[in-house]
Amino acid sequence: MFQGLPCRFEVESVRNDGCPNSKQTMQWLIANDDDAARPSTAQQRRRSSAERLWWTRVTNRNSFSVLVVVVASVMVMAANKPRSGSFSRNFGGASSSVPSIPGLKHGPNGTMLLSSGIPDLDKILGGGLALGSLVVVREDPEAPHHMLLLRNFMSQGLVHHQPLIYASPASDPRGFLGTLPSPMVSKDDKSRVHETEQEKGLRIAWQYKKYFGEQSSESHKDGKSEYCNDFDLRKPLERHFFSGKQIDCVSLKESADLGAFHERCSSFLSQANQNNGNITGGRIAIQSLCSPQCEYSNREWEMLSFVRSLKSVVRLSNAVAVVTFSPSLVSTTFSIRLQHLADTLVSVKAIPDEDKELAKLLTGYQDMVGLLSVHKVARFNTQVPAILETTTFSMKLQKRRSLVLECINQAPVDGATGSSYGSSGSCSGSSKTGSFDF
């Protein structure tokens, strides 16, 4: 964050009752010119650096208190105002050149991207979903979180007037369209930002957060034609978004084999491509491809062949296809072959309610509804793989309305009992904790 800054400070974590117990050091590198003159002990450091830094003690509901060292000096903050390049590497800075097409934007290596409907997921995937890519979502049979992803994906397409074809094993897939969320009204966003600023105890800490917030708030200023909307899952999508658009619903249960469905997808894509010569980006959403209600579900090679041909037609078109499937319903070989076929691979997992071990392990456990892992990110026209900072994120419903994805934060470990780790507060993607496989 604060790059190239030479000074160090120590932070202690203190229990609620005020006795310093386990020391858990977090070292922050913060800008400081006269490092050499700095006194050596922590105590002296604290006293003498009053004009430059403060500690704030923050207590959270999990009854651990964490001391956060914050550089509250506005001077230092202003001097180190994060360059947009270091935070939004893939966006090419705050979009100064607004693309002419509302639902699309330019991606790396000459690709075009469209939004997945979830702002956090777009950020994780480097801007959005690349046109021509196949996204595969591994479902968890115990929870319908993949539906959340599909709903946001489809709503975003309708808001941007992008043609959509939706297939599911239900007899009446049109019914699902009634559950699509509506974009959040913009004044809700502003009130959200204000609220956080008002939390008094965190004021200093949040001032620092404000600089992060500025990056994303720029995209909100664009008014109606935003690239990615925040969706309110409690409000259904208004009727006017459905009228007159190319929306097709297919029931997979009725088709005896996938050939007919593939024909429909091909014609849908060729129609979408011909849209007055402009690219609008089409969306194909296929839910639960391998569900046992469908006749073809025991013919694995046929399903693979379908996905393969779908991938090849999508690749040559300006659309994104999202296919969800449940690995537990098919053989492992099939599942791995399908995962190899995917350009972008994501899996969702349920989190058990009232799991005491998990509650101790993770902060914010009560708000989490599930976990989302990103295994592969589409890389067209380049051979360099996308290595993410972390691959597993927690899915939370903010105020039960909008889906946010957050890095998993491990709760501070009691130093007296054992293993210390230096990365509390950051995303620990590779820590192995018993049977939990993040």
């Binding site: 290596n109 000459g110 694995e300 090679w301 046929e302 693979l304 062949s305 393969r308 041909s309 090849s312 037609v313 690749r315 040559l316 053989s331 492992t332 070989t333 791995i336 072959r337 995962q339 190899h340 076929l341 691979l345 295994h375 592969k376 067209f380 026209n381 380049t382 051979q383 360099v384 793989p385 290595i387 993410l388 691959t391 993607g429 590779s430």
Partner: protein, 256 residues
């Protein structure tokens, strides 16, 4: 030919000369893709100092993707194609798929082999290319196209292997190791490993993702002829980091 390129660990482990019919099998998995090895070998084969030719059978990406990737590495595929040094067979294109309507997979694979053999013969005799490389990306998608009959695919690959003996070509095939890991019986992967002279396995690091090291490579060079007449195999293991214009190979721990 190797003199023109700076040698790296991968080239060294593959052995200096690219001549003589060899089959190289590249195995990767979902976590780490082995496409960069195919790009490297393709670039090596299309080295401008020699008059080698390449027949590229692509099941996974269109030519534009490879063109852009290799252009960053300093090799222009469109020019090579125009110079008749590269024959790109795009199996993704719709006309190849349409053939499925009338014909069985067997017919398609036979026809495909016919095309490759013809191309090799023409290159060899009429255009005096010394060495031809056949690259297949990738075998598991060929299986899907053949509707799951791995026997057909194996036959096809065996025929391509016979080209290496007959015409001295090299064959490079990419396959996915983890697809076959749960199948117990002798399967396609094992057969291919048996056929291959060199097996390159690409795996992720045991410790997980890292920005500096993208994975590890194990090169098993079989059937090396030693002076005493016996054959042995050598195994090389090192790690790699992929960049846009090249790939760095280094021994574990020696990354600077």
């Amino acid at each position: 030919m190797a003199n023109a390129l700076p040698s790296n660990l991968l080239d060294e482990s593959l052995g200096g000369s690219s001549g003589g019919g060899r089959m190289i099998l590249v195995e990767d998995c979902v976590e780490t893709s082995g496409a960069f090895v195919v790009h490297h070998l393709l670039k090596r084969a299309l080295n401008s100092h020699s008059s080698d030719a390449v027949v590229f059978l692509s099941f996974s990406h269109p030519l534009s993707h490879y063109d852009r990737v290799l252009r960053k590495m300093g090799c222009n595929l469109s020019v090579q194609r125009d110079n008749k040094r590269l024959l790109f067979l795009d199996m993704l294109a719709l006309d190849h798929l349409d053939r499925n309507r009338g014909k069985t997979s067997e017919d398609i694979l036979i026809a495909l082999y016919g095309e490759i053999q013809k191309a090799v013969e023409i290159s060899r005799s009429h255009e005096a290319r010394h060495h031809i490389t056949v690259v297949i990306d990738d075998v598991s998608l060929m299986e899907v196209d053949a509707n799951g009959s791995s026997d057909l695919v194996l036959d096809f690959l065996r025929y391509c292997c016979s080209l290496t003996a007959q015409f001295g070509c090299s064959l490079i095939a990419l396959n996915h190791g983890d697809v076959y890991s749960t199948v117990d019986q002798p399967n396609l992967l094992l057969q291919l490993e048996y056929l291959a002279d060199i097996v390159i396995k690409i795996e992720p690091l045991a410790t997980g993702l890292a920005k500096d090291v993208h994975g590890q490579l194990t090169v098993t060079n079989r059937n090396l002829r030693v002076d005493s007449g016996k054959s042995r195999s050598r195994i090389h293991n090192f790690q790699f980091r992929i960049k846009d214009n090249s790939v760095e190979y280094f021994y574990p721990g020696s990354k600077t």
